[in-house]
């Protein structure tokens, strides 16, 4: 029953590895807590509201500040700024509701 | 041991290629007998063997094995009977390539809950009795014809069945190996196993120690030659 034993070992090792990675992730998060603290400080002191992930257009740069009209404004002949714009939904959330 | 009454088997009922394999066959085989089903190919030997071995369900008739009517039994229970009662030796050895002799021989035991240790001992014993114990870890495609045949027999014996069914066992062997095979079967018969061989090879059905020769033609039994069983060899 060699193959089955080897296979079960492989599975066990992979599961252990996965658990190891899970622990590693917690460890890393703990280790980088200062970084998060620093970022929170940045957000607080510079009064930031958005991540600098996509700088193609206003509505992708400042997702939470954008309104429903923004996708139309930037470049008339283009519907969108690919790829960022195709992944980011125009922000319905803040406009409606209240 | 096995009683067959008025068995018929039709393949592909209702289809254009409907085929009558055997018609109205009755037969009774007692415990410890050694029987040959003789006849040209297409005469229904294999079908009859399949019916006896619970692999083929007859269209009509009754099959009684160890006092139990098996025709109506669902497949799940047929398999259990088959596993306990029969060992099969096939024309083409039908070993599974890519795995060792040991694994091939053990295969019938895999779906059971027999402990590993018991299984191990049994394989050793069976292979030893067939004198191919030294090849236990060899991959089966590396074996010679005779060795393959022995492994096939070992696999048939691993369940310690009451009955061995062999379908043209000598078809792919030369006469020397065929003789060897017959000797082995003879020995097993002497040990009390019921043996049924389907064959049209003279080497097989000319043997004096056969209890019965059933001759088949066009799906019918045309002749049954009965002989007194010989005393078991010591």
């Amino acid at each position: 029953m060699l193959k089955a034993r080897l296979f079960l070992w492989l599975i066990k090792i992979e599961i252990l590895l996965l658990i190891g990675l899970y622990i590693h992730s917690h460890f890393m998060v703990g280790l980088r807590e200062r970084e998060i603290y620093g970022k929170r400080q940045l957000v607080r002191e510079l009064s930031l509201t958005d991540m600098a992930l996509f700088t193609e257009a206003r509505y992708t740069r400042d997702i939470s500040q954008a309104d429903m009209f923004t996708p139309f404004q930037d470049f008339p002949s283009s519907f969108d700024h690919f790829p960022a714009g195709s992944i980011i939904e125009p922000n319905r959330d803040n406009v409606r509701g209240r | 041991m096995v009683r067959i009454e008025g068995i018929s088997k039709v393949y592909n009922t209702g289809l254009p290629d409907e085929m009558l394999a055997i018609t109205d066959v009755s037969l009774e085989i007692g415990r410890g007998e050694m029987v040959v089903l003789k006849g040209p190919s297409g005469s229904g030997k294999t079908t009859l063997l399949g019916i006896i071995g619970c692999m083929v369900r007859p269209t009509q008739g009754k099959v009684v094995i160890n006092d139990k009517d098996v025709v109506k039994l669902p497949e799940r229970f047929l398999t259990q009977i088959r596993r306990k009662t029969f060992g099969f030796i096939f024309q083409h050895f039908n070993l599974i390539p890519g795995i060792s002799v040991r694994e091939n021989v053990c295969l019938p035991l895999y779906p059971t809950n027999i402990p590993h240790a018991v299984m191990k001992d049994r394989v050793q014993a069976v292979l030893k009795s067939l004198e191919i114990h030294h090849k236990i870890n060899t991959e089966v495609t590396r074996l010679s014809g005779g060795e393959k045949q022995r492994v096939a027999i070992a696999r048939a014996l691993i369940n310690d069945p009451e009955m061995l069914l062999a379908d043209e066992p000598t078809a792919h062997l030369d006469s020397k190996l065929s003789e060897d095979l017959i000797v082995i079967l003879r020995r097993l018969s002497a040990e009390g196993k019921t043996i049924i061989i389907a064959s049209h090879d003279t080497i097989v059905y000319d043997k004096p120690y056969l209890n019965r020769i059933v001759e088949m033609r066009h799906g019918k039994v045309i002749d049954v030659v009965l002989r007194e069983p010989l005393p078991a060899i010591q």
Binding site: K3, E14, L21, G38, E45, L48, M51, E56, V95 | P108
Partner: protein
Amino acid sequence: MKKHYRILEYALSSLLRRKYKNLALFFIYTLIVCLLSSVMFLTHSLKQEAINVFIDAPELIVQRLLGGRHDLIPLSYVDTIKSFPGVATVTPRFWGYYYDSLTGGNYTVMALTSNASLNLITGRMPEEGECAVGKGVAQARQLDINDALFFTLASEQKLMLKVVGIFTANSSVLTNDLVIFDKNDVIRFFALDKAKATDLMVKINNESEIATVANKIKRTLPDTRPITRSEILRTYENVFNWRGGMALVLFCGALLAFFIFAWDKATGLSAEERQEIGILKAIGWETSDVLTLKFWESTVISFTSFLTGVILGYIHVFEFGGTIFVPILKGWSILFPPFDPMPYIDLYQIVVIFFLTVVPYLASTIIPSWKAAIADPDTIMRT
């Protein structure tokens, strides 16, 4: 148990017998799981980071809308808002965008709102005539501390600034395209109306009061749009869900193709396999045993691929910064922050990946397995 163990053993032999086919299957499967889990890990990590970081975002941002567009807000609103109970401070923000024709990048220009010293900056925060820049800007313009930086919009609107601070690389996700000026510089550079600001930042003491204040602002100043902190957080929650979902839709195509392949592999029962199952059934295997065998075969494939894929996905995202995705996500933005996501993972992610990959695969193998399992045992005798 013994029975399953032994059938597993045989299943492994049987998989090994068709080594190349199954290895190919394993690799494709692993690749798909790896890509899928990378997407999930990356989006979850960014989302989690947004939630952890923007918890300190302003409680309320008040924008003015004019004809549906964002417009400058009069500073006279400050006092109105300040008079509402529960409002601690109201601070005007001055910010905007600057297209740098030299590099083709878009910068975000912000005025300093406080003078606190920061951890994630080398150098210091700027005073009048100085600026602090994000890592991305610094790299694009090849800047170092004390270098001069020139901005121009029109003949009157130009600035020559000294770089006194550069945000550290690990803050890039927030600061990559930022250029921080002093307030007066921003007003001068953008030629802003003295009585107006870009928007107002409102601090509120009690969290339970935010919604009430927002409502009041909306009521008393109908041309404004208040954006609460919880809305910012929810935006990020939604965006990355959408993002994760978007990628999932793309991957669904790939998954489908893969399952069709798997189905094809399983249905196209070769004569050899049929023979093998015939033998097993002839020597005493029952239909359900063969089904168990097939179940183990697919389980072995799917579990090893799933585990390997998830592990590789983790390593890909958190050790190599999602190298595969960068070219896809980058598009034509010049300033794209390097990904160094925090390894936030959630068991839920892994459960979902399991449901998306293993469940459909197992389901797609049921009928083919059954078709194989019902093979007549006597087929081997008849051939």
